[in-house]
């Protein structure tokens, strides 16, 4: 059971590990890494699904009778490309976040945003109060 479904066990372990990293880590780059592990687990799942024991690549020639299903493998080629694009974009945004905030830790970013928001509110109440005063006069 465990040996026969070895690939699928690996898939489940990787998937859970990846999702756990995405959820638990506050570091943006680590989140991207977790996301990658999670996506890769699904790739392995698709590849294992298409494999036939003892099968070769689908070569149309005499002497080759058992083929692996190439379709899931091709699908995963597309998914890998999408995954690379997502990673690149995610990392690019992380760099921009670092430039804008000086940190890539989610907690610190939230704290900075909260401080700014407090300041904004105090500014905007001053603005409305001054408008109120103007009307009163």
């Amino acid at each position: 059971m465990i040996v026969g479904l070895f690939n699928y066990w690996i898939v489940i372990i990787l998937m859970m590990a990846g999702l756990y990293i995405v959820m638990s880590s506050g570091h943006l780059v680590k989140k991207i890494i977790g996301l990658n592990v999670f996506q890769t687990s699904v790739f392995i799942f698709f590849i294992s699904m298409g494999t036939v024991d003892g099968g070769t690549a689908p070569i149309l020639k005499d002497g080759f009778t058992v083929f692996s299903n190439p379709l899931p493998h091709v699908l995963i080629l597309t998914a890998i490309v999408v995954g690379v694009a997502t990673t690149a974009l995610g990392l690019a945004i992380s760099v921009r976040v670092f430039e804008a905030y000086g940190t890539v830790e989610e907690d610190e970013i939230t704290a900075i945003d909260r401080d700014n928001r407090k300041r904004e509110i105090s500014v905007s109440t001053v603005v409305t109060e001054s408008a109120q005063k103007e009307r009163d006069q």
């Binding site: 699904v42 974009l89 945003d113």
Partner: protein, 498 residues
């Protein structure tokens, strides 16, 4: 010569996709933002014409099947267009094109001239992939286009002027990728069972596996994945920030199309691929969806009432309105589904118009806080007028589009004898009055802050699209053949297929 039009008509489904998809790289080649804008606008309006032609062909219940590259389904990729597809197609292209037309002025205030062409490229790519999701009849194709549209959306959001746009885009990227990967797993399970990816083929082969645990897992993964994309309560976490901090006019496009197309995918898969009987009978999707969507409507409407930023307020209202659509779907009767499809169209129109009118105001005030927008009804009367009409439409006042969809939704609830649900819906409409009224009150009756006392009316290129949206809202409140009439046929089709 006479053969050329008929050949062109046959190839329309491919043309529909290619127009925007090919215009995107062409746009990216120019450094001149204005030129790119012209190309992008022409391509998107041509795309609208295409969508109208397709809608005309399937009007009354027809359906078109087009073999991409001449490979017959289920081996090749099939493009399927029926009435539901055509209305979503019209929604994406028409509202996309209107926003694109208004985009130039609004963009020039946040971006260097040379960079703008890249922005239009991303915008077109997003539109092309949303069209792709809508027309394709292949399950894996849906996923690929969904990923392209998501990647384009993350980029569009991250271009916001506020640095919080970056964190909002990142958050959406994480959630969106998890959602898409869940859908990938779901499609993998389906492929394991049936060996096919064509949606029509899947729907024929899946019923014999209804008791199979693999299909149950597939359904669970799909529902969670797509609910993340739709931003269905309680998976809406990414939406308010993404809408608030993305560039002004972009929000109008995203609010109109991205979540609606995801909802379309949800309807397509649940009703056509998995089957009503399996989804609602065996898997009890209704018991999950009904309470969650009602909770979503109430919580999001209430949250919207207490916002002091106009964009964030409208974003929360979007979460609530998505709840209406989900509820309409979960009611599982003709009126409910009619309301879901009608509201998909109507809400896209009204929310795009509202965000666009807001973008026009922000173009002058440079801030979306309600304090900055106070008294704007006197300085920008035309923009605020359009905003008011659209807002009233959103509340659901008779003779506006919002009334039609809410009418069907409440009738759907009453058809099921769910009186409490109907009452809750009316309470949520009162909350809509509260949050729209709060904005209109600030805009018309509060004194303008001194620094904005003498701002001018918005530029015409933005004002005219706003008014088109406003007039359409009234038009579709009176003439419902295109929206509710079509949605009624779609609903009986979807329910009849079970």
């Amino acid at each position: 010569m006479s053969q050329i039009p008929s050949q062109l008509v046959e190839q329309l489904p491919a043309v529909q996709l290619l127009l925007t998809l090919l215009a995107a790289p062409i746009c990216s080649m120019f450094r001149n933002g204005d030129l790119s804008w012209r190309i992008a606008t022409v391509a998107s309006w041509a795309s609208v014409a295409c969508a109208f032609a397709l809608l005309h062909q399937v009007w009354g219940g027809g359906s078109i099947s087009y073999e991409m590259g001449g490979w017959p389904p289920p081996w090749g990729i099939e493009v399927v267009i029926d009435e539901l597809t055509a209305i979503v197609l019209l929604l994406v292209t028409l509202f996309g094109a209107l926003v694109m037309t208004a985009l130039r002025k609004s963009l020039s205030s946040i971006m260097r001239h040379q960079r703008q062409s890249l922005y239009y490229t991303t915008f077109l790519l997003c539109m092309a992939s949303l069209i792709g999701i809508t027309i394709t009849g292949d399950a894996f194709n849906v996923l690929v286009f969904l990923e392209i549209s998501s990647l384009a959306t993350y980029t569009l959001i991250a271009r916001g002027r506020d640095r919080r746009a970056l964190t909002a885009a990142f958050r959406y990227l994480i959630m969106g990728t998890i959602g898409a990967t869940f859908i990938l797993i779901a499609i993998g399970f389906m492929y394991m069972l049936t060996g096919t990816l064509n949606m029509a083929d899947l729907s024929e082969r899946l019923p014999e596996h209804y008791d199979n645990k693999v299909l149950h897992a597939s359904f669970a993964f799909f529902t969670i994945g797509i609910a993340l994309k739709v931003a269905m309560f309680p998976l809406h976490y990414w939406l308010p920030n993404a809408y608030t901090y993305s560039p002004k006019a972009t929000t109008a496009f995203l609010a109109a199309t991205a979540t609606k197309v995801s909802l379309y995918v949800m309807i397509r898969f649940i009703f056509d691929v998995y089957g009503v009987e399996f989804a609602f009978g065996q898997m009890q999707l209704g018991t999950l969806l009904v309470p969650l969507s009602i909770a979503g409507i109430l919580v999001a409407s209430l949250t919207a009432v207490f916002q002091d930023d106009a964009k964030r307020l409208l974003a929360w209202s979007s979460v609530a309105q998505l709840g209406y659509m989900a509820l309409g779907m979960a009611l599982l009767n003709a009126n409910g589904l009619t309301s879901a499809v009608t509201h998909m169209f109507n809400h896209a129109m009204m929310k795009a118009g509202l965000f666009l009118a807001l973008a026009t105001m922000i173009y002058r005030t440079q801030s979306s806080s309600l304090a900055a927008l106070s008294g704007i009804g006197r300085t920008m009367p035309w923009t605020t007028g359009a905003f008011a009409i659209l807002g009233i439409g959103l509340i659901g006042v008779p003779f506006t589009a919002g009334f039609v969809s809410k009418w069907y939704l409440v009738s759907g609830a009453l058809d099921k004898d769910w009186l409490p649900v109907a009452i809750l819906l009316i309470i949520s409409s009162l909350m809509a009055i509260a949050y729209i009224g709060k904005m209109l009150d600030v805009m018309y009756f509060k004194p303008a802050p001194a620094e904005f006392a003498d701002i001018k009316e918005g530029p015409k290129s933005m004002l005219i699209p706003c008014w088109i949206f406003a007039l359409l809202t009234i038009y579709f409140g009176i003439d419902t053949r295109l929206t509710a009439g079509l949605a009624g046929r779609v609903a009986s089709n979807l329910l009849g297929a079970s």
